[in-house]
């Protein structure tokens, strides 16, 4: 019976391993292939950590199994071993994880810096942010600078973030970006904490009340299908910070478009936003004639 329990408890880690090994192939749980270059690098880090954790998992499970198995062979009259612990063991299992952690910390620094440290950002993208995204309960409000706006330096951008301009264009839950180049948006919150999460682009950034946080990304649409109806490639944008009763409602989309289509989109948006209910009507009438 004792041996049965040994085998029983060894059986489950093995099942877990088999299932995990099958997961990527069967597309279980994994977020699919990344559609941004930085996403590929982040996936690299993820996989590295996954491998390390797997090795540790196998090692510890074998150790556990060994201890169990040995315990199962203890005779009834045998006395338990009394120990004050082992210095050597303590040192090994403190130092080893430290080394591994340190390695991970150093190894990921470059990717982290690329993603989060503002001085490393692509200056072209920084100098012309494409939108301000405001998370609020329970939607994403988006403000684009007018299509003709050219920012003149950092102060001008700061001013734009503080003071909306008459030419700005507004949408909600629908962020359009040009594909295939580095773009920058400014994220803020209108009320509580939210998190801007685009799983397929591997972007996750908290929106914190009171601060404006720049996020850059680059959508390369590597594995994405073109969606004719929206003239672009659509990615799900969700909120990843429980923010209230309607948290689940904060579903939106990021649409990556080719340069021309993106420009057309903004022009169309501009036309709609400045619709006076008369001029557009007459346009329609002309078409009918």
């Amino acid at each position: 019976m004792k041996k049965f329990w040994c085998l029983f408890f060894m059986f489950w880690p093995i099942v877990a391993l088999v299932v995990c090994a099958m997961a990527p192939g069967m597309n279980w749980w994994f977020p699919g292939e990344s559609n941004s270059p930085i996403g590929v690098e982040i996936d690299g880090l993820f996989n590295l950590i996954l491998i390390i954790v797997t090795i540790v998992f196998i090692g510890t499970q074998i150790a556990f199994g060994y201890v169990l198995w040995k315990g199962a062979h203890i005779q009834k009259n045998e006395k338990a071993l009394y120990t004050h612990g082992s210095h050597n063991l303590e040192i090994i299992w403190t130092v080893l994880p430290c080394v591994v952690m340190l390695f991970i910390a150093l190894y990921q620094m470059e990717v982290w810096a690329k993603f989060r440290v503002q001085s490393t950002f692509d200056q072209d993208a920084v100098s012309q942010p494409i939108a301000e995204v405001t998370a609020r309960q329970f939607e994403w409000r988006i403000r684009y600078p007018g299509p003709d706006t050219k920012f003149e330096g950092k102060a001008d951008i700061t001013d734009w973030l503080k003071n909306p301009r008459p030419t700005d264009l507004y949408t909600v839950n629908d962020l359009h970006v040009p594909a295939g180049k580095n773009v920058l948006i400014h994220l803020r919150s209108g009320d509580v904490q939210h998190s801007f999460f685009v799983p397929e682009l591997r972007i996750k950034q908290d929106a914190v009340p009171g601060t404006v946080i720049p996020i850059w990304f680059n959508v390369d649409n590597k594995t994405k299908k073109y969606d004719e109806s929206i003239k672009g490639f659509s990615y799900e944008l969700v909120c990843a910070e429980l923010c209230g009763w309607g948290h689940y409602k904060m579903q939106a989309r990021v649409v990556a478009q080719l340069e021309d289509e993106y420009k057309n989109y903004l022009l169309q948006l501009q036309k709609e936003q400045f619709d006076d209910g008369v001029s557009a009507e007459s346009d329609d009438d002309e078409e009918e004639e």
Partner: protein, 465 residues
């Protein structure tokens, strides 16, 4: 030790779940009667309740009254001729039908199957339908051939049911089961979620005397109402949006009918009215008898008439005549036009400043006055303006540049032309000319940017494009 810990955790989570249960599930969802209905004399109240139950059912067991122009999703038709076997026959639909939705079901309205006691042949799954031959094949054999002219309905209330499900998921926690704007989270919101039962909607593109149009509702649900807690539901699919709107319109029609029925009975048969009539010497038997007669003879006709009135307002709101269309296009946005707008804004003719304040921050003298509660002699305990739902409402702070009804020039034009329904913001269709409204619009749109001289001219460029 550790085992006990786990045990108590499990129990804890159990308690949590049953807690939630009692919050949301314990009683089946039901429609509440309005306060005014409850103030009716017993039998009159029961009559209103019975009529609502007859015509609309409950949220669990809904009824689709075809009097209203609501898309319930039902497809009606009749048998043209029996086919090769008892489960196949050719049909003609009231409206041409290219395809039928998957998993459609058929219910007999007339003929021997409809009359049959047992439900055996009531809701029968449809296996296939071909528009070419007009033949329907049922998944089940009937006991005999249907007769020519037998009427049936396909997918009764299909869209309404879909709408109910989506409404419960997305809207209920604010707008409430009965659509009374009293969902569990509504208490914490200002402005409060809309009470659909009045059939009054604020941000419309229709004349001030008309209801909300279908396009307005679509726009509101897709874009949300910026500056309030009405969120955007941009990503709803078209059929989902239509389903939700059917349900909202259904709730709204139900509430309106309730209100109209009460208005019909209130004068003579509210609890208070009955009491004072008794005081004046009428016997309670006489009153009961009179009410009895009224309810048994005329009332069902009255209800029918009231429903028709409600239905007509919905239909009319979608007609071209109800739409606000400026007679001239927007006056180009220039400093002169803004100046004229500014003068109008301060003038006695438009009186905008009396509410919105000279600087547009929503602090005009009207907001300092104490007002009487309508229908009473008492004053509100707070100075300022109140909407038809008796809630305090501030004139909009125009410097913030947040427009709940939309920021297009046509939106602002409609706001001034038709007012904001249900609120003190008046309609200026009669007092101001088109040109004046455009000057005002140009001015209002420039208010948020006052003091930002460097960008002041940018709007001009855009508006002239």
């Amino acid at each position: 030790m550790s085992f006990r810990l786990i045990n108590s955790l499990i129990v804890l989570s159990f308690i949590c779940c049953s807690g939630c249960d009692s919050l949301f599930m314990s009683s089946p969802a039901e429609f509440k009667l309005s306060k005014r209905t409850k103030s009716l004399h017993g039998p009159a109240k029961n009559a209103v309740q019975r009529n609502l139950l007859d015509k609309f059912g409950t949220p669990v067991d809904m009824k689709a009254w075809e009097r209203f122009p609501i898309n319930y999703g039902s497809i009606k038709g009749k048998v043209k001729e029996p086919g090769s076997s008892t489960n196949a026959f050719s049909v003609s639909f009231n409206n041409e039908q290219e395809i039928l939705p998957e998993n459609s079901i058929l219910r007999w309205l007339t003929g021997s199957f409809a009359a049959a006691e047992e439900d055996l042949f009531r809701d029968i799954p449809i296996e296939s339908y071909s528009a070419e031959t007009g033949e329907i094949v049922l998944a089940k054999k009937l006991s005999e051939d249907p007769k020519e002219g037998d009427q049936f309905i396909i997918n009764p209330g299909f869209v309404l049911q879909h709408g109910r499900k989506l409404y419960m998921t997305h809207c209920l926690h604010c707008h409430g089961v009965s659509g009374d704007g009293n969902g569990p989270t509504s208490e914490y919101l200002n402005p409060r979620p809309r009470d659909y039962r009045d059939g009054v909607f604020k941000f419309t593109s229709t004349l001030s005397t008309e209801k909300v149009s279908h396009a307005d509702l679509q726009r509101i649900v897709k874009k949300g109402i910026p500056g309030t807690y009405m969120p955007s539901f941009m990503l709803l699919k078209d059929d989902e949006l239509e389903a939700i709107l059917s349900y909202v319109q259904w709730l709204s029609s139900r509430g309106e009918l309730e209100k109209k029925m009460v208005a019909e009975l209130e004068a003579d048969y509210s609890t208070a009215a009955v009491r004072s009539r008794k005081k004046e010497g009428e016997t309670s038997e006489a009153i009961s008898k009179e009410l009895q007669e009224l309810l048994s003879v005329e009332f069902s006709e009255t209800v029918d008439g009231l429903a028709t009135e409600v239905a007509e307002t919905w239909t009319r709101a979608n007609s071209k005549e109800s739409l606000v269309v400026p007679k001239i296009s927007r006056v180009p946005d220039s400093p002169e036009s803004r100046q004229k707008g500014r003068e109008l804004y301060l003038s006695n003719k438009a009186k905008c400043a009396t509410c919105h304040g000279p600087k547009g921050i929503g602090n005009g003298p009207e907001t300092k006055l104490f007002r009487k509660i309508p229908g009473t002699n008492k004053e509100y305990d707070q100075p300022g303006l109140f909407d038809m739902w008796d809630k305090h409402v501030k004139p909009r702070d125009l410097t913030r540049g947040i427009y709940r009804g939309g920021r297009r020039p046509i939106d602002l034009y409609s706001r001034v032309y038709s007012g904001i329904k249900g609120t003190p913001m008046p309609a200026f269709a009669g007092t101001l000319t088109d040109e004046e409204i455009w000057h005002l619009t140009n001015y209002v749109m420039s208010v948020p940017f006052e003091g930002q001289s460097s960008h002041a001219t940018e709007t001009e460029k855009v508006s002239q494009k």
